[in-house]
Symmetry: C2
Subunit: 314 residues, 2 copies
DNA sequence: CCAGAGTTTGAGCAAATGCCCAACCAGTGA
DNA sequence: TCACTGGTTGGGCATTTGCTCAAACTCTGG
């Protein structure tokens, strides 16, 4: 019974197994593993924190189903997914994450190799955490936008790396910084061979997952230090209400063009794509941006929550 | 906020969502839903009991991985899956179920249509409960053995119906009773057109899932009233140690032939099949039967638990 | 309108859980 | 060797959860 050296994660997994699958109490888990009750509790908590444990709900609440149908019809979407709302002010990313992960997994399960493109942001990051193994085909995953700020620092949400790590797939990170200092510098990056390869791959992606950013005082682009206050103001003045993988859009979902937008180094998603482009976003603050992205047909699939769905329709 | 008529199951799902995905306490769930704490607790419990909530572990414990490799090598298996053992005497079916469901889901995700065959029993039944809906291709599912006792009553574990119901797939139940009264009666059944269709389908199944039954005083076949004490004794006397979809086998995994076995109305799985035949079983009492099935090459895939795996290898 | 069976409800309570804190332990640098 | 820092351990306690039980409620048949 005495394993020589069960790694800490192994122990956590075992504790989590006994607790969640076996339905033992933490006391029983402790006895079984020969550790104290507290340690068992910590192992179980750790299994959860490390993302070893995944919880999903099977049943679709009819109210949500109705909203999905309504969204799909209203905005002519390939796919609409609505999850029950968490109480006001709760983290919306964790709410959408399991549903988004499920959508992604459906593509991952496809047997012919796909190119799958990802944006960044909290929603995508949460999705990455929720995705489960799929030992299948050789898909390729490509990033539409880097997470490198102009000062060279990286923001947290490195979606593509987390994803590649988890799924063991060949991946193509975006090399161009989110925003460069001059147009010339950006052109320099774009001329690079590997950058062109990534852009080309992004262009032919079989399915694309993006977050949707609001452009206002809480704009992620600004909060995370990618653009300055002045640049934010410039975008606002030009009528920007939202942003998709860095591309600022107005209320009609048209890309806007200002000195700042010309410095952005991400792949620009074309309007009205045939292939699925799935937006993952929820929350009051993102409403205007989401409406814009939907009307501009920049996305043709949506994962959101109940209250956001209602607001979009009402 | 006030939905007109949320079905009871909707409410349960919503409560489960808030509790498990949202991480709220039952008190908060109660407030959110506008019900008493007790009702919230009951809804959450119900969501679990109704199988709406699915919990899975991502991490593979290295000890189990080692056992999988060893099993695959020793018995030349296509697939071996070993889950951590639950403490002595705990229900083994619930332990293997999530892993088995995951294996099945992998096949379900395949895009070209498959024929999937199922046996019966507690292990398969538990697996059925754990499977999550995969909205994909038009597979067909076929039953290898009915659950009808000679007196016309059905045992609980109606795997194929549960599965078909859950996955919305066309299904082909086995019509022949598990055991008939006379050989002539059995022949009568087998001559029926639909029966022959089912048998043929079973024969060409792309993947087969079966439980493994022990033949001893606790034999499921006997316990569930399919065979009499006299018939059990007859099988034992003929050297039976186990049974796969009703077919009694000796310690070497060869089908045995007695008056009783000639009355059995199930599909007989041939030895040494190429296509995957996955056995799902665990527990001390099943050891001899499992060893027999493995050595006789009646199965070429196995889902079991840690202690059983160790015992099989040791 | 009422009696009765079966179900649902909420109060109360015991068990289980999460978390804080002080004690302890291992490794490091003086 | 010793003091110190960072991390781990288990005791104790507040919160949360599961469960029992009696009361209330609903549905049915007289």
């Amino acid at each position: 019974m005495a394993d020589p050296d069960p790694t800490p994660q192994d122990e956590a997994a075992r504790a989590g197994w006994l607790y969640y699958v076996g339905g033992l109490t933490q006391d029983q888990v402790a006895t079984e593993l020969g550790v104290s009750r507290q340690r068992a509790q910590r192992l179980v908590a750790r299994a959860m924190a490390d993302g070893l444990v995944h919880v999903r709900l099977e049943h679709k609440i009819s109210a949500c189903l109705d909203l999905e149908a309504a969204l799909a019809k209203r905005f002519d979407l390939h796919l609409a997914r609505v999850v029950p709302a968490l109480p006001e002010g709760m983290d919306t990313a964790t709410a959408t994450a399991p549903a988004a992960a499920q959508v992604l997994e459906r593509y991952l399960a496809q047997s012919d190799p796909l190119v799958i493109a990802f944006g960044t942001g909290r929603a995508l990051s949460a999705m990455a955490a929720e995705v489960m193994r799929t030992p299948h085909a050789q898909h390729r995953i490509v990033s539409l936008i880097s997470n490198i700020a102009p000062d060279g620092s990286a923001s947290f949400y490195d979606v593509i790396m987390r994803m590649a790590d988890k799924l063991q797939l060949p991946h193509y990170p975006m090399l161009v910084p989110v925003i460069t200092d001059t147009v010339a510098e950006r052109a320099l990056f774009n001329a690079l061979r590997p950058v062109q390869a990534v852009m080309q791959l992004a262009d032919q992606a079989d399915v694309t997952f993006v977050g949707i950013g609001q452009i206002n005082d809480d704009a992620p682009l600004y909060k995370d230090g990618f653009i300055t206050r002045a640049q934010l103001d410039e975008l606002l003045a030009a009528g920007a209400v939202g942003e998709i993988v860095g591309g600022a859009i107005d209320a009609q979902g048209r890309y806007i063009d200002t000195p700042t937008t010309r410095l952005i180094g991400s792949f620009r998603i074309p309007a009205g794509r045939d292939k699925p482009v799935i937006g993952i976003a929820a929350g009051k603050s993102k409403l205007a941006a989401m409406r814009a992205a939907l009307t501009g047909r920049l996305i043709n699939g949506l994962v959101t929550d109940e209250s956001t769905a209602r607001a979009l329709l009402g």
